[in-house]
Symmetry: C2
Subunit: 420 residues, 2 copies
């Protein structure tokens, strides 16, 4: 029998839509790796009644409940009081907990305001969970059939405490069975057509579970395989992956959960090569994605965001006459951009992107969504164009960054793919 | 009596954590503007039993339920069947609905695969909701006390259909009373200290509601005021805003819900001025944020991501001797970066950012989190440094972008703030 988990994200800002809950996705992935099944995620406000009800319901359905948020020092942080009420106990001042808060502030060379004492009032019988990443201590408490873990809402604190406190408990108490996951990513096929190829594998009762998610034109086929243990789950997952791979080989872009930008940075390092990028319509998004990876400085030389035509000439040496004759969004300009970039940057790999992100600036000959790419790899240049669906500025920009990252990965992993 | 709303986000990829639900935040904000209160957001899987239960429970508690996802053409799209089961009716093929799907494909010059017919099987008695932005039609259906609106999960389709179908219905049937919102943003104060200043306003029973959210070091104080109508709600909101403004004037960075980058692009346009940016540790993030705003091309000249020291010299004219003597993260280098940038870009405003995002690269003298800024505005240059908490690479980069945007906004709105 699979153990069940539920997740609660607590906060007025979440339920009323002023912030997006990203914590629950991380928690769900980590819990499911241990073979626990997440059935439901509930986002509730700080209002005492609503919070207590949602906590009680979740603890009545699941074996483990992970809640985030509402542990701060201010008046609207009410998870401690709601958990006490849901468990039918009082709040008690926990001296150990308070010492932990004081120690955190001491490390920063500060003294906490008096209001931080609120954070040390925990439900009676709860066990304090140390927070090494911030001020807000967490706690765990038995309510109904469930073990409730209350963690802070700040993502980096939640991540650390989940790993330190929650996952070991789950592995020991609820473990048994395990899930394995695999992802296959496609470009150039629509969701319905992809779904037809995999329909039998996507039936509600099919094991392993197979699902499709669309994101900026890339489809992710996800396999979730349950097994008696890690090795068994992985074998089931691999068998289904092989079946799917055979059916979608013509549209497969890459596999795995690692972000594309991370693969590119890693492969550049492995090849001892450097990269430079020249962006127009993507406006720095590609550079930002790549430099978000720790260690990018070893392989990323520079980026230029040549938004204005004058910048294309000055920064990349694109001749004004070429821009006038062909327009900024054209094969010759994309080629000139990457050639000028590589000459100036002294990098082995380079990519140039020039297109029309919209909403304005399109024409019959060059509609919104048209993007030219030029990839330079060790002296060879390949150019190509794509006409992305005009589904908004963000879509065209994100889709173009995806195209560039897939092309860079391909050039690094399979150098034969870049031909002059 | 306030009408209650609940939101359901449907999809295995959401509940198992492979995608983040951003739709619900948008829906919550739009519903609450009309005076409806969102009590709960539930994220559920595609599993038929779980989905039917969650739909039924939400429809038993709320006056209106907005569900997203599960309307696609593949096997794992089960919202239609679950809603039929929750409402105790059969699925029926809806010819109007099918004609709508055909018309969408015709506009794209394509013929739908046979599997798209799944999308036209709706619960008996449901009303089809036209989708002008994609293939998946929505529907609405009475279940229990609630009107259920089922919309697609693709954000741009959901946004359009919410406005076209859901908001007019809510305004007509559930309207009466309204909410008004206001946001005040602070930099340079910790959450507990800010909470102490506003404690009385943040009590659970206080009207208007006041809450604090922390995001990359910026605190947002949010006011949600309920009133008998829009004008009344706005007046109550304004009165509380005035009270808060007086208490936090020393740390107030700006006010309002408009993103900073949008304010900067708008104010540049109003001033008839142009902008260029030179980034090191933020790696293109600032340029990407600014160029994400439609119309940025009229004011954004160029960005350079001078990651490698050689790029700082070649692209911005920073003398190699200065880099060697002072290090890349220093006041003279930041100043030289912005001076070189403005000279080359021909822009009235420019900003340079150079710092240590980590996790490596820090030293005792220049720890991770140290960032130097240089702002050039119409011939005057101001430099300053910040030591951000070393809470990870993403935190330092995002916090630095925030600092730069606040400084740019200030220079545009209050030119006296930039002194040589």
């Amino acid at each position: 029998v699979t153990s069940l988990a539920e997740i609660l994200a607590i906060g007025d800002e979440l339920v009323h839509g002023f912030a997006v809950d990203t914590n629950s996705a991380h928690i769900a992935r980590e819990l499911e790796r241990l073979g626990v099944e997440v059935r439901r995620v509930t986002v509730v406000s700080d209002a005492p009644g609503a919070l207590r009800a949602a906590l009680g319901e979740a603890c009545g359905r699941a074996d483990v409940v992970v809640a985030t948020g509402g542990l701060g020092p201010t008046e609207d942080d009410r998870t401690r009081a709601a958990a006490a009420a849901a468990g039918g106990v009082e709040l008690r001042f926990d001296e150990d907990c308070w010492q932990g808060v004081l120690a955190w502030f001491a490390r920063l060379g500060r003294t906490p305001p008096e209001s931080n004492r609120r954070q040390a009032w925990l439900p009676a019988g709860a066990r304090v969970l140390e927070n090494r990443w911030g001020t807000a201590p967490g706690f765990c408490q038995r309510i109904g059939r469930a073990e409730l873990f209350a963690l802070p809402g700040v993502p980096r604190e939640m991540v650390g405490m989940l790993e330190l406190h929650v996952l070991p408990w789950v592995a020991e108490r609820l473990g048994g069975g395990a899930f394995a996951f695999h992802e296959l990513r496609t470009l150039g096929i629509h969701e319905a057509a992809l779904g037809e190829r995999l329909a039998d594998l996507m039936a509600a009762d099919h094991e392993p579970r197979v699902g499709i998610t669309a994101h900026f034109g890339m489809m992710t086929v996800r396999i979730a395989a349950r097994g008696s243990g890690t090795a068994d789950a992985q074998a089931r997952c691999a068998a289904t992956a092989a079946e799917i791979r055979a059916r979608i080989a013509d549209v497969l872009a890459y596999e795995g959960a690692e972000p594309l930008e991370s693969i590119v940075v890693r492969e550049l390092g492995r090849a001892g090569a450097t990269l430079a990028v020249a962006e127009s319509c993507t406006g720095g998004l590609l550079a930002a994605r790549l430099t978000g990876i720790a260690g990018a400085s070893a392989v990323f030389r520079e980026g230029v965001v040549t938004y204005h035509d004058a910048a294309k000439t000055q920064r990349l040496g694109v001749p004004p006459a070429l821009l006038a004759a062909q327009g900024a969004v054209s094969e010759p300009v994309a080629r000139a951009m990457v050639e000028g970039l590589l000459e100036r940057a002294g990098a082995e790999f380079g990519i140039a992107i020039t297109g029309i992100a919209g909403p304005d600036g399109g024409s019959d000959a060059k509609p919104v969504g048209l993007v030219w790419f030029a990839l330079g790899a060790r002296g060879r240049v390949r150019t190509w164009q794509r006409l992305f669906s005009a589904l908004g500025r963000e879509f065209v920009r994100e889709r173009a960054v995806l195209e560039a990252l897939v092309a860079l990965r391909q050039a690094l992993v399979d150098p034969g793919s870049v031909s002059g």
